[in-house]
């Protein structure tokens, strides 16, 4: 069994809105898989289908080797789920919710729970109604991370966390990654997060998978941003294939270049003479934008 999640051709509509339109998603056991898409692209719907909360109109989904709808209760013993918008019971404390969810999942590592509470700087004695969005999310995260499960399903887990806590979250997920026995499905529209954490990723848009693979697989699709100060005027760059959005200001140039056109562009600049050079690696932001432009044609 090497695939923790295997979904093929998922279709789901709500009334006239088509939420999923033939979505594919494969997650290998033991990897951290980024599930990337703009808001409203169908990430949460996919996750709900994988959790057996919804049934797809068409398509096939397998989760940990079982049927997400029919075997829901049995499969849920082996996973923990953190929804994107966590709501807690107003009169239960955060600590009570963490313990309850852990016990329902079949056990909680109390040492790990206390450790996580400390790292996330969460006061477990507050009542559910007194927590901010970020703190409610931390409650669900601690409950999930302290549970002894094979699969973590995290739906935009950092959308309410401040940058400092986002950092803590990344450290914790990296530790999970090093342990190697846990699979994580991490949905996000925050690209740097997926870039920093994930082994492989799936990009979706309008309910369809547009790209899937490792980050390295996708770099050929992307461009590098170059800013340079040259010794003379940058002749010839504008006509080079693969160079985009060229801006010149005297001897200063800034442009984007396709990965396979990087070498000829550099050679052209060296001929003129380079005084300073800043190159930025392709971010998922750009990769994402290209997918966007690509599929909206």
């Amino acid at each position: 069994m090497t695939e923790a999640i295997d979904a093929e051709g998922l279709v789901k509509s709500f009334g006239r809105t088509l939420a999923l339109d033939g979505l594919n998603l494969t997650v290998q056991t033991g990897e951290v898989h980024g599930f990337l898409g703009p808001n409203g692209s169908g990430k949460t719907t996919t996750i709900r289908i994988l959790l057996g909360l919804m049934r797809p109109d068409r398509g096939r989904a397998r989760l940990l080797g079982g049927d997400p709808w029919g075997d829901a209760t049995r499969l849920h013993k082996r996973l923990a789920y953190v929804p994107g918008d966590v709501t807690l019971w107003p009169n239960l404390t955060g600590g009570e919710v963490i313990d309850l969810l852990g016990r329902l999942r079949g056990g909680l590592d109390t040492r790990r729970r206390d450790q996580l509470l400390h790292r996330f700087e969460l006061d477990p004695r507050k009542k559910g109604r007194a927590y901010s969005k970020g703190n409610r999310q931390k409650v669900a995260l601690v409950a999930a991370l302290a549970s002894d499960v094979e699969l973590l399903v995290l739906d935009e887990p950092t959308s309410g966390l401040d940058p400092l806590m986002e950092q803590v979250f990344r450290e914790v997920i990296r530790e999970e990654q090093r342990r190697g026995d846990r699979t994580v499905l991490l949905s996000s529209h925050i690209l740097s997060e997926v870039e920093a954490l994930c082994d492989r990723l799936t990009i979706i848009r309008d309910g369809r998978t547009v790209e899937t693979g490792t980050l390295a697989d996708m770099r050929h699709l992307t461009r590098t941003s170059i800013q340079a100060e040259l010794a003379g005027s940058p002749d010839g760059l504008a006509h080079l294939a693969g160079v985009h959005d060229l801006r010149t200001d005297g001897s200063r140039v800034a442009f984007d270049v396709d990965t396979d056109a990087l070498e000829p562009a550099l050679q052209k600049m060296i001929k003129v003479g380079v005084r300073s050079l800043v190159s930025q690696p392709p971010t998922l932001e750009e990769l994402f934008l290209r997918q966007y432009q690509g599929s909206s044609k």
Partner: protein, 531 residues
């Protein structure tokens, strides 16, 4: 106060269906009474006789309040005596919906960030609700005048309804400041309304007999508005008293609003335990945590109701003894015992529909848990859908049984010890109360069915319950066909004590409730979540 006008328009936009619905519906109900009184009691002599019997009927007085005169107007205004409670309920729910509910859900923050004054939201909610009450009163008064009743009495009749709206809108404005949760604010305001009704009831029933507790009516805003006695006394000073109270309560609400922080209540939010008790490890244990406060409140309220109903039961007998003319009629009807039985049987019916409110409330908790996303968290763990739904339904089924028993026991013990016949009276009164249970379950079953099959319409169950209440209050007066009355499960419950104990309707109601609930649960297992 800046921005109040805009917020008023926002409320009118959001409540464009709800607000006209209760304003118009409750406003025109009294008009329906006129024609039925005219057709049932065409001559003056008929009305005098009807008024004489009704004014001494403890069950009627409990439900509608005291009756002084016998003119058509007075009879109609008296028969509408339960409406101030329903109007008060609508008013307080509207105010809390547009103050604390918005604040809790963060909508206020959105508005508060715009150019809106600190008091604008409360002001807008009160202005809208009070204006709605005014419209309601005008509708009633106009309808009465159109039917040919005296103008001055009609104006006072409308004023009763206007003041009922205003006073409970004001109560809600205070309740909304006390706690940070809308649910608790609603409970507090509804609790005040319930207390006002029970005080009125206790005072009025006592007034029929020993008069020892008559003063209780004067502690209740509902008692005040009823002492206006439209078409009879047309007394102005209870109106002034009510107005003064409403103004004072509104003032208190405004002061409290100024003293608290945004999002907080005056009652502080305390810290709780950092870890869960060992028992908290199943859906049922969680449901117990979520339901126990509400259930405890209902048990206390129902026990108090039982105490009051039981204590005033003796007045019914006093009344029969003191009034010689009636004595003869009652003797023919079977004597004091029958009278007491009739009284307790009608109380049992009333208690039944109130208990149904709890049953529906407890069942709709399912929908509430689903739409807030809390169900999703639980159903993402190895908890099956049936186990989760069952944990809440335990309270919809057993909860009503417990609160009905609390009322029946309290009433039976109180009246039994006054009548010095606990072994005889307790089982009769308790039995009559518990006989309501299958009808109460039926309402819970309707809620389960809607939740399972048409979850977005689950709240329509309240409409079904309101229909049952209306059928009980006006069904016989308006001479509906029997099949219409039969729509309410409460029509089928045997009238106990005193009536014939037929097991068939109880068994049939229970079986139908089980089948309907099962259909709802089957639907729930098959549908998407959340929906």
């Amino acid at each position: 106060m800046t921005g109040t006008g805009k917020l008023v328009r926002l409320i009118l936009r959001r409540d464009r269906l709800l607000l006209p619905l209760w304003v118009i519906l409750l406003g025109i109900v009294p008009a329906g009474y006129i024609s039925s009184f005219v057709s049932l009691f065409p001559t003056d002599a008929d009305r005098v006789e009807y008024a004489r019997v009704s004014a001494g009927n403890a069950g009627f007085v409990a439900l509608y309040g005291p009756l002084e005169g016998h003119s058509l107007g007075e009879l109609v205004a008296w028969r509408a005596g339960f409406l101030p409670v329903m109007i008060g309920l609508c008013a307080l729910l509207t105010v809390i919906r547009h103050t604390r509910t918005d604040e809790e859900q963060g909508r206020t923050e959105l508005i508060g960030a715009a150019a809106v004054g600190r008091h604008a939201q409360l002001a807008a909610a009160l202005i809208t609700t009070c204006a709605a009450g005014l419209v309601l009163g005008v509708i009633t008064a106009t309808a009465m005048v159109a039917e040919g009743l005296p103008v001055d009495g009609s104006v006072w009749f409308g004023t009763q309804f206007v003041l009922s709206t205003w006073v409970f809108a004001a109560v809600a404005s205070v309740a909304a400041q006390l706690t940070s949760s809308a649910r608790s604010a609603r409970s507090i305001a509804v609790g005040v309304l319930g207390a006002a009704y029970v005080l009125r009831l206790a005072g009025d029933i006592s007034d029929l007999g020993s008069r020892a507790l008559s003063w209780l009516s004067w502690l209740s805003p509902i008692g005040w508005v009823q002492h206006i006695f439209p078409y009879g006394g047309n007394a102005w000073w209870p109106a002034v008293l009510t107005l003064f109270f409403a103004a004072a309560a509104t003032g208190l609400g405004v002061v409290l609003l100024g003293r608290r922080d945004f999002g907080d209540g005056l009652l502080p939010a305390r810290l709780g335990p950092a870890t869960a008790a060992p028992r908290l490890r199943s859906p049922l244990a969680l449901a117990w945590r979520l339901h126990r406060g509400l259930l405890a409140g209902w048990i206390v309220a129902f026990a108090a109701l039982g105490l009051v109903f039981g204590a005033v039961g003796n007045s019914v007998v006093d009344l029969a003894r003191s009034s010689s003319g009636l004595d003869e009629i009652f003797a023919r009807m079977g004597g004091g015992t029958v009278l007491v039985d009739t009284y307790f049987a009608s109380i049992a019916g009333l208690i039944g529909v109130i208990a149904a409110c709890y049953a529906v409330q407890a069942t709709l908790r399912l929908r509430d848990e689903e739409s807030t996303g809390r169900a999703e968290v639980l159903l993402g763990t190895p908890v099956s859908r049936l186990a989760w739904a069952g944990s809440h339904l335990t309270f919809s089924l057993l909860g009503p049984a417990v609160i009905l028993a609390a009322e029946g026991l309290a009433a039976g013990l109180t009246y039994g010890s006054i009548a010095k016949d606990v072994p005889g009276r307790l089982p009769a009164i308790l039995g009559g109360t518990m006989a309501q249970l299958p009808a109460v379950w039926m309402l819970a079953a309707v809620a389960v069915l809607l939740f399972g099959v048409l979850p977005r319409l689950a709240a329509v169950t309240w409409g079904a319950l309101a229909t049952c209440v209306l059928l009980m209050l006006v069904g016989t007066t308006l001479q509906f066909d029997q099949w219409v009355l039969d729509l309410s499960p409460f029509t089928h419950v045997p009238h106990l004590p005193g009536g014939h104990l037929g097991w068939t309707p109880l068994v049939v109601l229970t079986v139908v409730a089980v089948v309907v609930s099962a259909a709802g649960l089957a639907g729930f297992r098959r549908r998407d979540l959340p929906s």
